[in-house]
């Protein structure tokens, strides 16, 4: 008589319990994973949106502090700035389009002193810098009529909606030409509201920055 084997397999009940537990654990893990991946994606989008907002505000602030003329636009045009040209050449393409050309001899040019006001007057003509907003994208275009320069670059690209407001320190909206008729230094509060996704408006974030425009005689 053959000896009865002592090994035994899993019973059906054991298998069902094991598989059920495995499925349960897998379902929980998978659910968590998908949720976390979603959360991660949302967080990444949110982070990128805030980074883009910060970049837009920083770009505004640099240009506004250097500007001798500021016009708050309407519609797709956010800002039109007049900047003294102080460089011989500017980048025309790429991420740095509109910035001073990075070459060895392109140094900051000396300005002149006005014989009437005693203030500093830039030489080399003016640049016109236009910030515009279309398709959830903030763009910066630099033109110079004397040289034919026309360079544009994307400053901020948003997955969801974005808006920019310009206000004074009391919260009143600003519009038109700022700081050109008086020598008063004008504070301007820039507020950007942006969301990372059109489907998740609740994740929109607000950022503000305050820039003081120079007075009229402060060239």
């Amino acid at each position: 008589m053959l000896a009865h084997s002592q090994s035994k397999g899993f019973t059906l009940v054991e298998m069902m319990i094991t598989l059920s537990l495995l499925l349960l654990v897998s379902a929980v893990v998978l659910t968590c994973y998908i949720g976390l991946q979603r959360g991660f994606a949302f967080s990444l989008n949110w982070s990128e949106s805030r980074v883009a907002q910060q970049r837009v505000l920083d770009s505004f602030s640099v240009d506004l502090r250097n500007a001798t003329g500021v016009v708050v636009g309407s519609g797709a045009t956010l800002l039109t700035l007049t900047l003294p040209s102080r460089y011989a050449a500017y980048e025309t393409t790429g991420y740095a389009a509109g910035d001073p050309q990075f070459s060895g001899t392109n140094q900051l040019a000396l300005p002149l002193v006005s014989s009437t006001t005693g203030g500093i007057v830039a030489v080399g003509g003016n640049l016109t810098v236009v910030y515009s907003l279309a398709n959830n994208t903030v763009s910066r275009t630099v033109t110079q009529s004397s040289s034919g320069l026309n360079a544009s670059r994307t400053v901020g690209l948003f997955g969801g909606s974005v808006s920019v407001q310009f206000k004074d320190i009391t919260g009143a909206a600003l519009s038109g030409t700022l700081g050109s008729s008086t020598d008063t230094i004008v504070p301007i509060v820039i507020t950007s509201v942006a969301s990372d996704s059109p489907t998740l408006p609740s994740l929109s974030g607000t950022m503000s920055d305050t820039v003081f425009l120079r007075g009229k005689s402060f060239q």
Binding site: F40, S43, V51, R55, D58, V62, A96, P100
Partner: protein, 491 residues
């Protein structure tokens, strides 16, 4: 019996654990990536802002250096040429330190360059401007890898090396000299007191026929006779609408403002065709003030320095001039004129030698019929180390123009007080800059020019005509007139 080994369920447990570890690792990795991205973003933006703060700190330090180090040099009688790159103390660099998580230090370094600029509107025709080029540098905290959108690097112009990442920002600022010593008819450090309503302070512009009387020019447009306030012609006050030439005075511009850094002006009914200004103080008897009563006045009154250059001792009663570029410089221990004595400032060998400087180390006094005479066409600067008392016939300035005579009361190094007074009979044309002097008017009929003193006490029926055409004088401060961030990437 050879029992078969039982299959262990531990194999499937290992599989489950491995799967879980993989999933958890992925979660941890993505979370860390997100955290690092955010940290890099914050570090990059913070360093970029810190670099600007450092650059602007450099501008501030450079501006302070100009105020404290260069103004005294430029206010000397023979100022040095400060064109070109300047050096000195404190060192032209500094460090900003921060604390907290991710703290990095930011450094700045700046260069001050003097430039002589031709300016027509105010001050001397050539003025020394200073250009400040300040570079702020801040390390980006964390690793040198800032793996964000390339647009961020474009905006912030970050510089990467093999060992670190640095945010570098450069600011160019321009400083313009402010000659405020003679910008008002009366400026004091402490108080102004007028004794009655017969005191009048008004203004005119000796080079502008719309705001003066009797201005004459030749065919080439050069002024042959300076204009005067029309009260000298007998009928003027700043409210008049017609001048002697048939033109119209700009009557609604009241520019004869008086101000003090102190807290008290006793107007006492005096007529002032301008603002009356204190530094948060009280104004009494302001019923005849045509301008505004203000409390926001503050003006730096630079000490009047001992004149530079070489002065030659003299005992002559006639002082001959030198050229504008090389004025004739004389020095005496004191001047005390009485009786019929006189001191004459005259041309040198020809009319191009029309500039005279006199350094009186002691007191400066005229009495009785004594007088100081300035030949028409001669420009005079008098530096006084002691007290000033101009009585008798006083100073007869035949130029008829306040810009031709400058009297500076030197600020004592020991802080001691000085006095000055004018009580002469003649009309005084000139400017007096004596910020450490207690000044008294004693019945001088007309004073044309401007006055800076520690205190001013007006005793008598004095009329003060401020000449709006006055320019020059001492530099009291440097004003920021240009600010520009260099947006070119600094190598």
């Amino acid at each position: 019996m050879n029992p078969q080994p039982r299959l262990s369920p531990g194999g499937s447990a290992l599989l489950v654990v491995l799967v879980l570890i993989t999933i958890l690792s992925l979660m941890l990795g993505t979370t860390l990536t997100l955290v690092r991205t955010n940290a890099n973003t914050l570090n990059q933006a913070a360093s970029w802002q810190q670099a600007l703060a450092a650059a602007e700190a450099g501008v501030q330090q450079a501006a302070a250096q100009v105020q404290t180090q260069f103004i005294p040099l430029l206010n000397q009688s023979a100022p040095p040429d400060l064109s070109g790159a300047q050096s000195g103390t404190p060192a032209l660099s500094g460090t900003l330190t921060t604390s907290g998580e991710g703290n990095v230090s930011a450094t700045y370094a700046y260069v001050i360059t003097g430039t002589k600029c031709a300016v027509n509107s105010s001050g001397p025709s050539t003025q020394t401007y200073f250009r400040i080029l300040s570079t702020g540098m801040a390390q980006v905290a964390g690793t040198k890898y800032v793996g964000l959108d390339p647009r961020d690097a474009v905006v912030r112009k970050l510089s990467f090396t093999s060992t670190s990442a640095t945010a570098v920002r450069q600011v160019e600022a321009w400083l313009k000299p402010v000659y405020n010593s003679i910008s008002l008819p009366i400026t004091t450090a402490s108080t102004i007191s007028m004794n009655n309503h017969n005191v009048t302070v008004d203004s005119f512009k000796s080079t502008d026929p719309a705001r003066s009387v009797g201005l004459l020019k030749d065919a080439n447009g050069n002024i042959t006779s300076y204009g005067q306030p029309s009260s000298i012609a007998g009928f003027f006050n700043s409210k008049s609408v017609n001048n002697a030439n048939g033109g119209t005075l700009v009557s609604n511009q009241y520019l004869a403002s008086i101000g003090t850094n102190g807290q008290s002006i006793q107007a006492n009914g005096a007529t002032v065709f301008g603002d009356v200004m204190t530094n948060g103080g009280v104004i009494n008897g302001a019923q005849n003030v045509y301008g505004n009563l203000r409390t926001d006045f503050s003006q730096t009154l630079a000490p009047a320095p001992v004149p530079g250059g070489t002065f030659v001792s003299t005992s002559s009663s006639t002082l001959k001039g030198g050229t504008q570029s090389a004025p004739a410089r004389y020095t005496v221990s004191s001047v005390s004129l009485s009786g019929g004595k006189s001191l004459v400032f005259d041309f040198g060998a020809d009319k191009t030698q029309n500039s005279v400087e006199l350094y009186i180390t002691g007191d400066f006094t005229t009495k009785g019929n004594a007088q100081i005479t300035i030949t028409k066409g001669v420009q005079v600067k008098i530096f006084v180390g002691g007290n000033i008392d101009l009585g008798g016939n006083g100073v007869v300035n035949n130029n008829g123009c306040a810009s031709s005579l400058s009297i500076q009361g030197i600020t004592p190094a020991d802080g001691s007080s000085r006095t000055a007074s004018i009580s002469g009979n003649s009309t005084f044309f000139g400017t007096i800059y004596a910020p450490a002097y207690d000044f008294t008017f004693n019945g001088v009929p007309v004073y044309v020019g401007s006055l800076v003193a520690k205190t001013v006490n007006v005793m008598g029926n004095v009329t003060i005509h401020f000449d709006e055409a006055l320019s020059g004088g001492l530099i009291s401060s440097y004003k920021l007139v240009g600010w520009f961030e260099n947006t070119r990437k600094v190598p």
